[in-house]
Point group: C2
Chain length 185, copies 2
Amino acid sequence: MTAVKKIDFDVSDVRRYLEPGPVVLVSSAHRGAHDIMTMGWHTIMEFSPSLVGCMISAGNHSFELIRASGECVINLPTTALTDTVVKIGNTSGERIDKFEEFGLTAEAAEMVGAPMIGECHANFECRLFEDALVGRYNFFVFEVVKAHVAPEPEHPETLHYKGGGIFMVSGEIIDKSALFRPGML
Amino acid sequence: MTAVKKIDFDVSDVRRYLEPGPVVLVSSAHRGAHDIMTMGWHTIMEFSPSLVGCMISAGNHSFELIRASGECVINLPTTALTDTVVKIGNTSGERIDKFEEFGLTAEAAEMVGAPMIGECHANFECRLFEDALVGRYNFFVFEVVKAHVAPEPEHPETLHYKGGGIFMVSGEIIDKSALFRPGML
Protein backbone atom coordinates (compact mmCIF):
# COMPACT_ATOMS: atom_id res chain seq x y z
CA MET A 1 0.00 0.00 0.00
CA THR A 2 1.44 3.34 -1.05
CA ALA A 3 0.32 6.90 -0.49
CA VAL A 4 -2.65 7.98 -2.63
CA LYS A 5 -2.57 11.18 -4.70
CA LYS A 6 -5.39 13.55 -3.77
CA ILE A 7 -6.92 16.79 -4.95
CA ASP A 8 -8.73 19.57 -3.10
CA PHE A 9 -12.36 18.85 -2.32
CA ASP A 10 -15.27 21.10 -1.30
CA VAL A 11 -15.46 21.01 2.51
CA SER A 12 -19.24 21.55 2.40
CA ASP A 13 -19.61 18.21 0.60
CA VAL A 14 -17.66 15.85 2.90
CA ARG A 15 -21.02 14.22 3.73
CA ARG A 16 -20.55 12.26 0.50
CA TYR A 17 -17.84 10.26 2.29
CA LEU A 18 -18.83 10.45 5.96
CA GLU A 19 -22.63 10.24 5.93
CA PRO A 20 -22.68 6.57 4.81
CA GLY A 21 -21.06 5.80 8.19
CA PRO A 22 -17.56 4.42 7.50
CA VAL A 23 -14.94 3.63 10.08
CA VAL A 24 -12.39 6.44 9.92
CA LEU A 25 -8.88 6.94 11.26
CA VAL A 26 -8.32 10.05 13.36
CA SER A 27 -4.76 11.36 13.44
CA SER A 28 -3.57 13.94 15.92
CA ALA A 29 -0.41 15.60 17.23
CA HIS A 30 0.61 17.78 20.15
CA ARG A 31 4.04 18.89 21.34
CA GLY A 32 5.98 16.23 19.44
CA ALA A 33 3.61 13.37 20.26
CA HIS A 34 1.25 11.96 17.64
CA ASP A 35 -1.31 9.17 17.40
CA ILE A 36 -3.90 7.46 15.25
CA MET A 37 -7.20 6.03 16.48
CA THR A 38 -10.10 4.27 14.78
CA MET A 39 -13.51 5.91 15.05
CA GLY A 40 -16.95 4.61 14.12
CA TRP A 41 -19.07 7.00 16.19
CA HIS A 42 -19.41 10.19 14.17
CA THR A 43 -22.06 12.18 12.31
CA ILE A 44 -22.28 15.07 9.89
CA MET A 45 -23.90 18.05 11.65
CA GLU A 46 -23.88 20.87 9.10
CA PHE A 47 -22.84 21.58 5.50
CA SER A 48 -21.52 25.11 5.99
CA PRO A 49 -19.66 25.52 8.24
CA SER A 50 -18.72 21.90 7.57
CA LEU A 51 -19.33 20.30 10.97
CA VAL A 52 -18.71 16.73 12.10
CA GLY A 53 -19.63 15.42 15.57
CA CYS A 54 -17.27 12.76 16.95
CA MET A 55 -17.14 10.55 20.02
CA ILE A 56 -13.56 10.23 21.27
CA SER A 57 -13.25 8.21 24.44
CA ALA A 58 -11.33 9.89 27.25
CA GLY A 59 -9.52 6.57 27.76
CA ASN A 60 -7.89 6.93 24.35
CA HIS A 61 -4.33 8.27 24.03
CA SER A 62 -5.59 10.46 21.18
CA PHE A 63 -8.13 12.20 23.43
CA GLU A 64 -5.56 14.38 25.18
CA LEU A 65 -3.67 15.20 21.97
CA ILE A 66 -6.90 16.32 20.31
CA ARG A 67 -8.20 18.18 23.32
CA ALA A 68 -4.92 19.99 23.92
CA SER A 69 -4.26 20.86 20.25
CA GLY A 70 -7.90 21.45 19.28
CA GLU A 71 -7.12 19.78 15.95
CA CYS A 72 -7.15 16.45 14.15
CA VAL A 73 -7.38 14.91 10.70
CA ILE A 74 -10.23 12.52 9.84
CA ASN A 75 -8.80 10.03 7.34
CA LEU A 76 -10.96 7.67 5.26
CA PRO A 77 -9.44 4.19 4.84
CA THR A 78 -10.62 1.69 2.23
CA THR A 79 -10.65 -2.11 2.34
CA ALA A 80 -7.03 -2.01 1.12
CA LEU A 81 -6.27 -1.09 4.75
CA THR A 82 -8.71 -3.42 6.55
CA ASP A 83 -6.18 -5.29 8.68
CA THR A 84 -4.30 -2.08 9.47
CA VAL A 85 -7.55 -0.45 10.62
CA VAL A 86 -8.20 -3.36 12.99
CA LYS A 87 -4.63 -3.28 14.33
CA ILE A 88 -4.77 0.49 14.91
CA GLY A 89 -7.93 -0.05 16.96
CA ASN A 90 -6.29 -2.77 19.01
CA THR A 91 -3.07 -1.01 20.01
CA SER A 92 -2.27 2.08 22.06
CA GLY A 93 -0.28 5.05 20.88
CA GLU A 94 1.17 5.31 24.35
CA ARG A 95 3.32 2.27 23.58
CA ILE A 96 3.95 2.40 19.84
CA ASP A 97 4.31 4.89 17.00
CA LYS A 98 1.42 3.77 14.81
CA PHE A 99 2.72 5.42 11.63
CA GLU A 100 6.01 3.53 11.98
CA GLU A 101 4.50 0.26 13.25
CA PHE A 102 1.98 0.00 10.41
CA GLY A 103 4.08 1.49 7.59
CA LEU A 104 1.86 4.55 7.12
CA THR A 105 2.98 7.81 5.55
CA ALA A 106 2.58 10.93 7.71
CA GLU A 107 1.94 13.83 5.34
CA ALA A 108 1.91 17.46 6.47
CA ALA A 109 -1.55 19.01 6.52
CA GLU A 110 -2.11 22.59 5.32
CA MET A 111 -4.29 24.09 8.02
CA VAL A 112 -3.62 21.96 11.11
CA GLY A 113 -0.62 20.48 12.88
CA ALA A 114 -1.98 16.92 12.90
CA PRO A 115 -0.48 14.64 10.22
CA MET A 116 -2.55 13.22 7.35
CA ILE A 117 -2.38 9.50 6.54
CA GLY A 118 -1.15 9.28 2.94
CA GLU A 119 -2.54 5.79 2.29
CA CYS A 120 -6.14 6.84 2.99
CA HIS A 121 -8.64 7.75 0.25
CA ALA A 122 -9.47 11.12 1.82
CA ASN A 123 -8.11 13.44 4.50
CA PHE A 124 -10.29 16.00 6.25
CA GLU A 125 -8.38 18.60 8.27
CA CYS A 126 -10.40 19.54 11.36
CA ARG A 127 -10.43 22.23 14.03
CA LEU A 128 -12.40 21.97 17.26
CA PHE A 129 -15.58 24.04 16.85
CA GLU A 130 -17.67 23.22 19.95
CA ASP A 131 -16.65 21.49 23.16
CA ALA A 132 -19.83 21.90 25.24
CA LEU A 133 -20.46 18.14 25.32
CA VAL A 134 -16.83 17.02 25.67
CA GLY A 135 -16.86 16.93 29.47
CA ARG A 136 -20.11 15.01 29.86
CA TYR A 137 -20.06 12.77 26.77
CA ASN A 138 -16.61 12.96 25.10
CA PHE A 139 -18.47 14.45 22.13
CA PHE A 140 -16.41 16.86 20.00
CA VAL A 141 -17.81 19.02 17.20
CA PHE A 142 -15.13 19.69 14.58
CA GLU A 143 -15.14 22.00 11.59
CA VAL A 144 -13.59 20.54 8.45
CA VAL A 145 -11.34 23.38 7.28
CA LYS A 146 -9.66 21.63 4.35
CA ALA A 147 -10.49 18.45 2.43
CA HIS A 148 -8.30 16.28 0.20
CA VAL A 149 -9.84 13.39 -1.76
CA ALA A 150 -8.45 10.89 -4.29
CA PRO A 151 -10.26 11.55 -7.61
CA GLU A 152 -10.78 7.82 -8.19
CA PRO A 153 -12.59 5.59 -7.53
CA GLU A 154 -15.73 7.71 -7.15
CA HIS A 155 -17.16 5.21 -4.65
CA PRO A 156 -14.28 3.74 -2.62
CA GLU A 157 -14.84 0.47 -0.77
CA THR A 158 -15.25 1.54 2.84
CA LEU A 159 -15.51 -0.37 6.14
CA HIS A 160 -18.54 -0.10 8.43
CA TYR A 161 -18.26 -1.56 11.92
CA LYS A 162 -21.00 -3.65 13.54
CA GLY A 163 -19.19 -4.59 16.77
CA GLY A 164 -17.83 -8.01 17.73
CA GLY A 165 -15.05 -7.86 15.13
CA ILE A 166 -17.59 -7.85 12.27
CA PHE A 167 -17.42 -5.29 9.46
CA MET A 168 -19.80 -4.54 6.62
CA VAL A 169 -18.12 -3.50 3.38
CA SER A 170 -19.82 -0.84 1.27
CA GLY A 171 -21.80 -2.39 -1.56
CA GLU A 172 -23.83 -1.51 -4.63
CA ILE A 173 -24.47 2.13 -5.57
CA ILE A 174 -28.02 3.05 -6.58
CA ASP A 175 -29.18 6.34 -8.07
CA LYS A 176 -32.61 7.43 -6.87
CA SER A 177 -32.25 11.08 -7.88
CA ALA A 178 -35.21 10.80 -10.29
CA LEU A 179 -37.50 10.38 -7.25
CA PHE A 180 -36.22 13.54 -5.52
CA ARG A 181 -37.78 16.96 -5.62
CA PRO A 182 -35.24 19.29 -7.28
CA GLY A 183 -34.73 21.34 -4.12
CA MET A 184 -33.91 18.21 -2.13
CA LEU A 185 -30.88 17.26 -4.22
CA MET B 1 -44.42 -5.19 1.96
CA THR B 2 -46.03 -6.38 5.20
CA ALA B 3 -45.17 -5.76 8.84
CA VAL B 4 -42.14 -7.71 10.09
CA LYS B 5 -42.30 -9.83 13.26
CA LYS B 6 -39.71 -8.72 15.83
CA ILE B 7 -38.34 -9.84 19.16
CA ASP B 8 -36.88 -7.88 22.08
CA PHE B 9 -33.28 -6.85 21.61
CA ASP B 10 -30.62 -5.65 24.07
CA VAL B 11 -30.68 -1.84 24.03
CA SER B 12 -26.96 -1.68 24.84
CA ASP B 13 -26.21 -3.42 21.51
CA VAL B 14 -28.16 -1.24 19.05
CA ARG B 15 -24.76 -0.15 17.68
CA ARG B 16 -24.86 -3.37 15.65
CA TYR B 17 -27.55 -1.75 13.49
CA LEU B 18 -26.84 1.97 13.77
CA GLU B 19 -23.03 2.22 13.84
CA PRO B 20 -22.67 1.15 10.17
CA GLY B 21 -24.45 4.42 9.32
CA PRO B 22 -27.78 3.50 7.68
CA VAL B 23 -30.52 5.90 6.72
CA VAL B 24 -33.25 5.52 9.35
CA LEU B 25 -36.87 6.61 9.60
CA VAL B 26 -37.79 8.62 12.68
CA SER B 27 -41.43 8.43 13.73
CA SER B 28 -42.99 10.80 16.24
CA ALA B 29 -46.34 11.84 17.68
CA HIS B 30 -47.73 14.65 19.80
CA ARG B 31 -51.32 15.58 20.66
CA GLY B 32 -52.90 13.59 17.86
CA ALA B 33 -50.39 14.61 15.18
CA HIS B 34 -47.76 12.18 13.92
CA ASP B 35 -45.00 12.17 11.34
CA ILE B 36 -42.14 10.23 9.79
CA MET B 37 -38.85 11.70 8.60
CA THR B 38 -35.71 10.24 7.06
CA MET B 39 -32.44 10.74 8.94
CA GLY B 40 -28.88 10.06 7.88
CA TRP B 41 -27.09 12.24 10.43
CA HIS B 42 -26.82 10.21 13.62
CA THR B 43 -24.20 8.52 15.79
CA ILE B 44 -24.02 6.08 18.65
CA MET B 45 -22.75 7.93 21.76
CA GLU B 46 -22.79 5.34 24.56
CA PHE B 47 -23.60 1.65 25.16
CA SER B 48 -25.22 2.02 28.59
CA PRO B 49 -27.25 4.12 28.89
CA SER B 50 -27.86 3.44 25.21
CA LEU B 51 -27.38 6.90 23.67
CA VAL B 52 -27.83 8.02 20.07
CA GLY B 53 -27.08 11.55 18.87
CA CYS B 54 -29.33 12.80 16.06
CA MET B 55 -29.53 15.88 13.86
CA ILE B 56 -33.16 16.88 13.29
CA SER B 57 -33.56 20.03 11.28
CA ALA B 58 -35.78 22.70 12.83
CA GLY B 59 -37.40 23.12 9.41
CA ASN B 60 -38.81 19.59 9.62
CA HIS B 61 -42.41 18.99 10.69
CA SER B 62 -41.11 16.22 12.96
CA PHE B 63 -38.87 18.63 14.88
CA GLU B 64 -41.70 20.18 16.90
CA LEU B 65 -43.41 16.82 17.56
CA ILE B 66 -40.15 15.37 18.89
CA ARG B 67 -39.20 18.46 20.84
CA ALA B 68 -42.64 18.77 22.43
CA SER B 69 -43.11 15.06 23.23
CA GLY B 70 -39.45 14.35 24.07
CA GLU B 71 -39.86 11.00 22.32
CA CYS B 72 -39.47 9.25 18.99
CA VAL B 73 -38.88 5.85 17.44
CA ILE B 74 -35.82 5.22 15.25
CA ASN B 75 -36.89 2.65 12.64
CA LEU B 76 -34.42 0.76 10.43
CA PRO B 77 -35.65 0.28 6.84
CA THR B 78 -34.10 -2.19 4.41
CA THR B 79 -33.82 -2.05 0.62
CA ALA B 80 -37.35 -3.52 0.45
CA LEU B 81 -38.43 0.03 1.35
CA THR B 82 -35.97 2.03 -0.78
CA ASP B 83 -38.50 4.00 -2.83
CA THR B 84 -40.64 4.61 0.26
CA VAL B 85 -37.63 5.98 2.13
CA VAL B 86 -36.94 8.41 -0.70
CA LYS B 87 -40.58 9.49 -0.89
CA ILE B 88 -40.77 10.03 2.89
CA GLY B 89 -37.72 12.30 2.61
CA ASN B 90 -39.31 14.27 -0.21
CA THR B 91 -42.71 15.02 1.33
CA SER B 92 -43.88 16.96 4.37
CA GLY B 93 -46.00 15.60 7.18
CA GLU B 94 -47.71 18.96 7.35
CA ARG B 95 -49.57 18.10 4.17
CA ILE B 96 -49.94 14.30 4.23
CA ASP B 97 -50.27 11.40 6.67
CA LYS B 98 -47.14 9.46 5.73
CA PHE B 99 -48.33 6.17 7.24
CA GLU B 100 -51.48 6.30 5.12
CA GLU B 101 -49.85 7.72 2.00
CA PHE B 102 -47.12 5.08 1.88
CA GLY B 103 -49.09 2.11 3.22
CA LEU B 104 -47.06 1.74 6.40
CA THR B 105 -48.32 0.05 9.58
CA ALA B 106 -48.29 2.19 12.72
CA GLU B 107 -47.69 -0.17 15.66
CA ALA B 108 -48.00 0.92 19.28
CA ALA B 109 -44.66 1.20 21.07
CA GLU B 110 -44.28 0.00 24.66
CA MET B 111 -42.42 2.83 26.34
CA VAL B 112 -43.15 5.88 24.20
CA GLY B 113 -46.17 7.45 22.54
CA ALA B 114 -44.57 7.61 19.07
CA PRO B 115 -45.69 4.87 16.67
CA MET B 116 -43.34 2.18 15.37
CA ILE B 117 -43.18 1.40 11.64
CA GLY B 118 -44.12 -2.27 11.31
CA GLU B 119 -42.44 -2.77 7.91
CA CYS B 120 -38.99 -1.84 9.24
CA HIS B 121 -36.37 -4.41 10.29
CA ALA B 122 -35.90 -2.83 13.73
CA ASN B 123 -37.61 -0.28 15.97
CA PHE B 124 -35.75 1.59 18.70
CA GLU B 125 -37.98 3.44 21.17
CA CYS B 126 -36.25 6.66 22.27
CA ARG B 127 -36.60 9.28 24.97
CA LEU B 128 -34.87 12.65 24.88
CA PHE B 129 -31.81 12.44 27.18
CA GLU B 130 -29.92 15.69 26.52
CA ASP B 131 -31.03 18.85 24.76
CA ALA B 132 -28.05 21.14 25.42
CA LEU B 133 -27.16 21.30 21.71
CA VAL B 134 -30.71 21.42 20.33
CA GLY B 135 -30.95 25.20 20.31
CA ARG B 136 -27.60 25.86 18.63
CA TYR B 137 -27.29 22.81 16.34
CA ASN B 138 -30.62 20.89 16.26
CA PHE B 139 -28.64 18.04 17.85
CA PHE B 140 -30.71 15.72 20.09
CA VAL B 141 -29.26 13.02 22.33
CA PHE B 142 -31.80 10.19 22.79
CA GLU B 143 -31.73 7.19 25.09
CA VAL B 144 -32.94 3.96 23.47
CA VAL B 145 -35.28 2.60 26.15
CA LYS B 146 -36.63 -0.43 24.26
CA ALA B 147 -35.44 -2.24 21.13
CA HIS B 148 -37.32 -4.60 18.79
CA VAL B 149 -35.44 -6.41 16.00
CA ALA B 150 -36.45 -8.99 13.39
CA PRO B 151 -34.45 -12.16 14.17
CA GLU B 152 -33.63 -12.67 10.48
CA PRO B 153 -31.73 -11.85 8.39
CA GLU B 154 -28.79 -11.28 10.73
CA HIS B 155 -27.39 -8.66 8.36
CA PRO B 156 -30.27 -6.82 6.69
CA GLU B 157 -29.62 -4.90 3.47
CA THR B 158 -29.54 -1.27 4.60
CA LEU B 159 -29.38 2.06 2.74
CA HIS B 160 -26.56 4.57 3.25
CA TYR B 161 -26.98 8.04 1.80
CA LYS B 162 -24.23 9.89 -0.08
CA GLY B 163 -26.18 12.98 -1.12
CA GLY B 164 -27.37 13.90 -4.61
CA GLY B 165 -29.95 11.10 -4.68
CA ILE B 166 -27.22 8.43 -4.51
CA PHE B 167 -27.37 5.57 -2.00
CA MET B 168 -24.84 2.90 -1.09
CA VAL B 169 -26.38 -0.46 -0.21
CA SER B 170 -24.70 -2.48 2.55
CA GLY B 171 -22.41 -5.15 1.12
CA GLU B 172 -20.24 -8.07 2.12
CA ILE B 173 -19.80 -9.02 5.78
CA ILE B 174 -16.26 -9.79 6.95
CA ASP B 175 -15.24 -11.23 10.31
CA LYS B 176 -11.98 -9.81 11.65
CA SER B 177 -12.52 -10.89 15.26
CA ALA B 178 -9.40 -13.07 15.18
CA LEU B 179 -7.30 -9.88 14.94
CA PHE B 180 -8.93 -8.28 18.02
CA ARG B 181 -7.58 -8.30 21.55
CA PRO B 182 -10.17 -10.17 23.69
CA GLY B 183 -11.03 -7.07 25.73
CA MET B 184 -11.78 -5.11 22.55
CA LEU B 185 -14.59 -7.39 21.36
